[in-house]
């Protein structure tokens, strides 16, 4: 695998997503457009639909109506695996796989039968501020903030152009949370498109890009 290449994100759009579960309209015409290299923060109250929205963008849930487009192409016309390597998704409390940090980092490429060279693994760790010595540590023994950073590095091993993050700081203490937002901001500065869902207004502001709020299943632009 080559050294980390410059990300080449594509335009990511959601058009009028509607998702109804058990009679409840969780998404009600939610739309957004994330331009290549743009950082977007979506805030909103618990139950507003923001988590479901980002999961729909990650194609982990299927909206009943509307479409998700990547580079102008309907996501449904792309193979799920191909879409998800270009558009990475990080859950609120990312699952760390059994095995070492190195094995976790290599998980994405391994799914396609590729290996992750040691120098690339080290550069990924450096990108998320984890020391080299972590490579051989058992992934599940890391702290919450370290796990979040490992998951971020693991996602980056696929060289995605776009990062979707669902409340990445919710389970962390303030200092660890702030560090994650700064890392994500740095990734955006290096050319990744970033969409981060958060209920912490300060973190949305810290990301430094466009800001939206999610209300009753709709995405509304925040006035600056």
């Amino acid at each position: 695998m080559p050294a980390p290449s410059t990300p080449s994100p594509e335009l990511l759009e959601a058009r009028s997503l509607v998702l109804v579960r058990e009679g409840r309209r969780i998404l009600d015409g939610a739309s957004i457009s994330v331009r290549p290299g743009e950082a977007v923060a979506i805030s909103g109250a618990s139950g507003s639909g923001k988590s479901t929205f980002v999961r729909a963008l990650a194609t982990l849930v299927e909206p009943d109506l509307g479409e998700v487009l990547l580079g102008g192409r309907d996501a449904r016309t792309l193979a799920p695996g191909a879409y998800r390597t270009r558009v990475a998704f990080l859950a609120q409390q990312p699952a760390i796989f059994p095995g070492t940090v190195a094995e976790n980092l290599a998980a994405g490429p391994a799914l396609r039968g590729a290996s992750l060279p040691a120098e690339r693994a080290l550069s990924l760790l450096a990108a998320v501020g984890l020391p080299e010595a972590f490579l051989l540590r058992e992934g599940r023994t890391l702290s919450g903030g370290e796990k979040q950073r490992l998951a971020l590095a693991r996602a980056l091993a696929n060289e995605p152009g776009i990062l979707l993050l669902d409340e990445p700081t919710a389970a962390l203490d303030p200092a660890a949370g702030e560090l994650i937002v700064q890392l994500v901001r740095a990734l955006a500065a290096r050319g990744h498109s970033v969409l981060m869902v958060t209920h912490v207004a300060e973190h949305a502001r810290l990301l430094g890009g466009s800001r939206y709020r999610c209300e009753a299943g709709k995405i509304l632009a925040e006035l600056a």
Binding site: R24, K50, A95
Partner: protein, 265 residues
């Protein structure tokens, strides 16, 4: 006749064993007295009934009757393995898949053996097809029930892992691989353990029955070896089929994990 007959009055003495279990259950406050009592009556009634069915079948040998009985056994086995699956889809969804898995396992284990190893004469001889078929269906039933129970439960409890893999671009097969492997190992281990301990710990029922009823031990042993090998094949085929069906039920065509209530925030 080369075996000891059991008159009914002697059979009733065996009920003392059930009484013993009931007393122990009561003294240990297990609360299983009712289950033991009903189970013992139901088991005896079912066995007596099948005894008469077999008697009828032996007297009126006809392939249609033999296959009808095997079909009933298959349906009961599938219905039993598809019920009460926590975290899984409803019975009506699982039943046809259980039917196909158990049927496939039984076919793979039975057809070559009846064609090549123990060819009955006539080919539909109920004395061979029904008891051996029953053993295969029963093993397949246990295996499929275990696969369904475990795979849906582990997919529910480990959904974060599965979705993390999907998010990295895994196919459903890759995302569920670990849970599938653990489930199939658990489903196959009892049968494999049976292979390892047979003769050392347990003398299997069929062999014991044959010896008691006068079959030469070396022939009874050969039968048992064939049965054991069939049980391994039936468990492997039925288990793998059931796991493949479960995987299809757990994911959409767009590789999305289903069956878990989604967070709605």
């Amino acid at each position: 006749m080369s075996y000891l007959e059991i008159p009914l009055w002697r059979l009733s003495i065996a009920l003392g064993l059930i009484a013993l279990a009931i007393v122990l259950s009561r003294r240990s406050k297990l609360g299983l007295e009712r289950e033991i009592f009903i189970g013992s009556l139901r088991g005896a009634a079912q066995l007596i009934a099948i005894g008469y069915v077999l008697l009828l079948l032996f007297q009126h040998q006809h392939p249609a009757f033999v296959f009808l009985l095997l079909l009933v056994m298959l349906v009961v086995a599938a219905a039993t393995s598809a019920r009460r699956v926590e975290h899984g889809p409803p019975w009506r969804v699982l039943f046809p898949r259980a039917l196909a898995s158990i049927g496939a396992g039984a076919l793979v284990a039975l057809v070559p053996v009846f064609a090549l190893v123990v060819p009955p004469k006539p080919w539909y001889d109920a004395r061979y097809l029904v008891p051996i078929g029953g053993m295969m269906l029963s093993n397949a039933m246990n295996c499929v029930a275990l696969v369904f129970e475990r795979i849906f439960a582990s997919a529910a409890t480990e959904s974060d892992q599965i979705e993390a893999l999907l998010s990295l671009g895994a196919t459903p097969r890759q995302a569920l691989q670990r849970q599938e492997r653990t489930t199939l190992r658990a489903a196959l281990l009892p049968t494999i353990n049976g292979l390892l301990t047979v003769g050392l710990v347990a003398l299997p029922g069929m062999m014991t029955g044959q010896i008691v009823s006068g079959t030469a031990p070396e022939q009874a042993v050969r039968y048992q070896i064939v049965i054991l090998y069939q049980l391994v094949a039936v468990a492997a085929v039925a288990g793998i089929c059931a796991a493949a069906f479960a995987r299809r039920l757990l994911f959409t065509r767009r590789a999305q994990l289903v069956l878990r209530p989604r967070p709605t925030q």
